[in-house]
């Protein structure tokens, strides 16, 4: 028999030795996810797109932003709402006042303006950390809300600082329908995730985590700690800003400054605490938990106790159950659902 070469391998062996190693299970899953995500508008109802998938994706994006600042670089922040508001109002003004700019450009520029706000909000991190830093980011939260209400220019003199989505279109293709808004959001999330994935594996990400784990040693071994913290605030706030613009225009359509209040900041923080700090996948899982579980609970409760218990009471029960689940989860897995998922994954892989 002549010496075997790759081209002469029988098909199953070729599959096993060549194709399978370059297509790890994760990549296959990712491809399946992308295919499903793209097929969704054809299958899903407008309710699914509007009430479930779009808010889930945007919360994921905001979670990604905060995760870069807080999960990777260790700089705790409750300024997420402020950054989202800055992104939404900046994008609104760009779309309104510079209509020549294509939508993606306005979206990115709006995000970068939010990033600038993040940079300023991050300045105290050079001197203080932990809960004290959280308190200073809180100030930004209130200041932004106040500024947007105080200076009506930002909302083009609309009453009570309300802004409404202009016509959403890319290269003449109208994105105003739920399917279009879903694809706009999905596309943004995919692109931002790809950039974030590169970033956290680069020297920048490594420096962020070094500052998070041991900032005194970081400076001594030659890491520019000040720069690292400010970059983390800038990049994180930029992503949150883009999420804010999508929240305003792709999800709600009409918002005012109160859509980005402290509750929103807390909600995003819960996304990454539950999903997993310092894990990109954690932002997705956490957002799914925060957005989907209440809906699931209300459906289940509606079916199970529909007529028996009155509506208000049922809602309270859901909140209690939701809170209880969070407590249970964090006791069992303080590193969040992503750690739980990767443990399960390893166990499955070991068994296979």
């Amino acid at each position: 028999m002549p010496p075997a070469s790759a081209s002469m391998m029988p098909a199953p062996a070729f599959l096993r030795r060549v194709i399978v190693p370059i297509l790890p299970a994760r990549a296959v899953m990712l491809a399946l996810l992308v295919a499903t995500a793209l097929a969704v508008p054809a299958i899903a109802s407008d309710y699914w797109l509007n009430a479930i998938l779009i808010p889930f994706l945007i919360m994921t994006l905001a979670g990604l932003g905060l995760n870069l600042t807080m999960g990777y670089a260790g700089q705790a922040s409750l300024g997420t709402g402020a950054f989202m508001a800055a992104g939404a109002y900046a994008t609104y003004n760009l779309l309104l006042r510079v209509p020549e700019l294509p939508l993606p450009v306005s979206l990115v520029l709006g995000g970068l303006i939010a990033g600038m706000v993040g940079l300023v909000v991050g300045l105290p991190s050079l001197r203080i950390k932990g809960f004290y830093l959280v308190a200073t980011t809180l100030a930004a939260q209130f200041l932004i809300e106040w500024v947007l209400n105080q200076y009506p220019w930002f909302s083009n003199y609309a009453s009570s600082s309300t802004i409404s989505a202009p016509r959403l279109a890319i290269a003449g293709y109208d994105l105003s329908r739920p399917g279009g808004r879903y694809l706009l959001t999905l596309g943004t999330v995919v692109l931002v995730t790809a950039v974030a994935w590169r970033l956290v594996r680069s020297q920048t990400g490594r420096i962020w985590m070094a500052v998070r784990d041991m900032d005194t040693a970081a400076a001594v071994i030659g890491i520019p700690v000040v720069q690292a913290k400010l970059k983390a605030f800038f990049v994180g706030a930029t992503v949150c800003g883009i999420a804010g613009a999508l929240w305003a225009f792709a999800y709600l359509g009409t918002v005012d400054a109160r859509s980005f209040d402290l509750d929103r900041s807390f909600q995003v923080m819960f996304v990454i605490i539950i999903g997993g700090m310092g894990s990109l996948a954690g932002s997705f899982i956490g957002a799914a938990f925060i957005v989907l579980l209440p809906i699931l609970l209300s459906h289940v409760a509606g079916i199970a106790f529909g007529g028996a218990i009155d509506g208000g009471q049922l809602q309270n029960l859901q909140h209690i159950l939701f809170g209880g689940l969070i407590v249970w989860l964090l006791i069992h897995e303080p590193d969040g659902l992503s750690a739980l998922a990767s443990r399960l994954w390893r166990r499955l892989a070991a068994r296979a």
Partner: protein, 256 residues
């Protein structure tokens, strides 16, 4: 021909009136291994902290590579080529061994945030170059097998070696080691001593280290400076120090 890399003249440091270092002067020659010894509280760690900018001397002069340094901060010290390890390793706990070592290359990084985010321009070549340098140091310190382990899961002895790798990978001209062998058994100490001697031989790094084990110091160092209550009580070759009555007094507390 003497070629001093580091000269201290009358350096003093006080904490709330208590003198940690009192008018200390000594010289470190290029390429030597200089050991700082002395009882606990003698001011050894404070001295290292002055040398890499964590503390600022109250008075006196520190000249490194012919340049006097005043108001130096840890980051600038690192950029000028002063490396450092820590008494308790102080690693980046959630990162792998490789990532800890790669972090030590930061002062050589020329790439920007944008290059990292989009993987453009010099990003790929620098990533490959850093990876090679890190792998070389891991191999040099016999750490390759631990490459992907999360450092907080490793034994103390291995963590100390990772700390050394993180400092060495940046190719410092002066390397400060704060008790590199603390808490190790004899075998581990012997191995660590060999790594330190090899590092000097391979890279020509000047090393200033703090150590308590006199046996290790006698074997490893070319030059010993003895501190007691912030003052210098001995300065010379290991042989000279061994027989110095002032040193014996400081160490053994003999009345004199």
């Amino acid at each position: 021909m003497p070629d001093p890399i580091l000269t201290l003249t009358d350096v003093s440091l006080a904490f709330k009136g208590i003198k940690a270092i009192n008018a200390l002067s000594f010289t470190v020659e290029r390429g030597e291994i200089c050991a700082l010894i002395g009882p606990n509280g003698a001011g050894k760690s404070s001295l290292l902290n002055i040398l890499n900018g964590v503390y600022r001397a109250d008075s006196g002069e520190v000249v490194f590579e012919g340049e006097r340094f005043t108001r130096i901060r840890p980051l600038q010290a690192a950029r000028r080529g002063i490396g450092r390890t820590f008494q308790h390793a102080a690693l980046f706990g959630k990162l792998s061994v490789l990532d800890n070592v790669l972090a030590g290359l930061t002062r050589h990084s020329r790439t920007t945030l944008v290059e990292h985010a989009f993987g453009v321009f010099r990003d790929a070549s620098e990533t490959a170059d850093f990876r090679d340098r890190a792998e070389a140091i891991l191999a040099f310190l016999d750490l390759s097998a631990h490459r992907d382990a999360i450092v907080s899961t490793l034994s103390y002895g291995v963590q100390k070696r990772v700390d050394l790798a993180r400092a060495l990978v940046g190719r410092p001209t002066l390397l400060l080691l704060d008790e590199p062998m603390a808490g190790m058994n004899q075998d581990e100490k012997r191995a660590m001593s060999a790594f330190i001697a090899d590092a000097r031989a391979e890279f020509g790094t000047t090393i200033v280290l703090i150590e308590h084990d006199i046996g290790v110091i006698m074997d490893l160092s070319d030059h010993v400076v003895v501190l007691d209550y912030g003052r210098k009580v001995g300065d010379g070759t290991p042989e000279a120090i061994r027989t110095d009555p002032a040193v014996i007094a400081a160490y053994l507390g003999t009345p004199h």
